[in-house]
Structure formats: C-alpha cells, structure tokens
Amino acid sequence: MRIVVQEAPFDFGAEAETFASGRHDMGAIVTFTGVVRDFGNGTLDAMEIEHYPGMTQKALEAIAEEARTRWSLGDVLVIHRYGRMEPSEKIMMVATAAPHRKDAFEAAEYLMDYLKSRAPFWKKEHATTGETNWVAAKDEDEDALSRW
C-alpha cells in the first residue's frame, strides 16, 4: 500500500505500469485518474487545491485500510496532488489490485467515493476572467457514500 500527497505532478503511465507489473496472483488491476476539466468552453484558467497537511495522509490511509478490510485486495495505491493545476493536468489517481475484477472495481469506487467527501481537500476554480469560486460539494457525492 502506498499513499502519496504531493504538490508535484506524478507520472500516471509509469505509476500504472509499476503498480500492474510483476503480479502473479492478482488477476485484476483497476485505476482511476481525475483530470482538471475546463468544462469544454476554455473559461477555466486553473484549479487550486487546498488541503489539511496534518490530516490528509492519515485520512487517506484510513480510507485505504478500510477498503482492504472490505475487499480481497493485494495492493492499493493513492496519489493526490494539491496546489495549482491547469486543465488536462492529472489531479490524483487510485489503483487497486485484486484476484478478481469485482473486488478491484468496487474497492476503486469506494476509494473514490470516500476521497471525494471525506479526505480534506478543497477545490477552488480560477476563471480566465479572474473570478474565483470554491467548488461546492455535491449532494450526489454525499449520497454515494450510502451504498457502502
């Protein structure tokens, strides 16, 4: 299990390759990657992500540990950035390795649902006009937790 919180970009392809390689007993690897969207109209200049340094790593570890108790997993990877990112930059990734695909998929979705609403990150949009906007949490993201 590896949990990384960093400001710098990460190499998604290399991380995915390393995570998926050399596994003899895990038949299923799932990755999720979150990307900064400009909403298709080019009005987003950047996304700024604030976090709670003392708590973030612990919160992510607790979420990952809970996933490992709920599903049969061989490994879990979480990388989450903070700071300023432009459209098309990768914000974060999770990866799960499991003997079977159902566990790998469900655990990845669980990690994402909890990361969205229970890890101490806050997103602020910077528009090309200079306006800023704290992204509001969505009811549907909170509701997504109820399925677990």
């Binding site: 979150g34 604030e50 709670y52 003392g54 708590m55 612990k58 919160a59 989450h80 914000i91 974060m92 994402m112 990361l115 969205k116 609403s117 229970r118 890890a119 101490p120 990150f121 806050w122 997103k123 602020k124 704290w134 992204v135 509001a136 949490a137 909170e142």
Partner: protein
C-alpha cells in the same frame, strides 16, 4: 489549542490558524465563543450545516468534546478526488 480554518472559512476569517485559549467543553461551545468575537467570525459560522469540523485531525460533529484537544479545524464539505 490551535484552531485552523480552510478554504472559504479561512478566507472569511482572514487567517489560516490561531492559538485560542478556551474553557469550552464542546465544538459548539467554541463556535459560540468565536462568533461573539467579531463579525467576520459570526459570518463564517452563521450556517453550521455548511461546515465540517475535525478535532485532532479526526472528522467529528459539533457536539464533540474538545477537552484536552490540541487542534480543532473548521472547513466546508470536502471536495477531493
């Protein structure tokens, strides 16, 4: 104890962190003390349903005890991922 603010709570109060000396028993008591200080605090805490709180870096609720706590943090609902 240290009181921390994040995202728009930090912006409204105008600082990320401050030392607070308090006899408050719960988070709600601490919030009442802070609101009584100045308008910017009163405004930031006007709608508790829009806020979340962590005591010693664990998410909790406004009824939670803060006796012996080293760090209380206030922030809006999280938007990770």
């Amino acid at each position: 104890m240290d009181v921390l603010y994040f995202a728009w709570v930090r912006e409204r109060i105008g600082l990320p962190k401050e030392k607070v000396t308090t006899e408050a028993a719960t988070v709600a008591d601490l919030v009442a003390e802070l609101r009584a200080r100045e308008d910017r605090y009163d405004l930031a805490f006007s709608d508790l349903s829009a806020l979340r709180v962590a005591v010693d870096q664990e998410l909790t609720d406004f009824d939670a005890s803060i006796k012996g706590a080293r760090e209380v943090a206030f922030f809006p609902p999280m938007t990770g991922g």
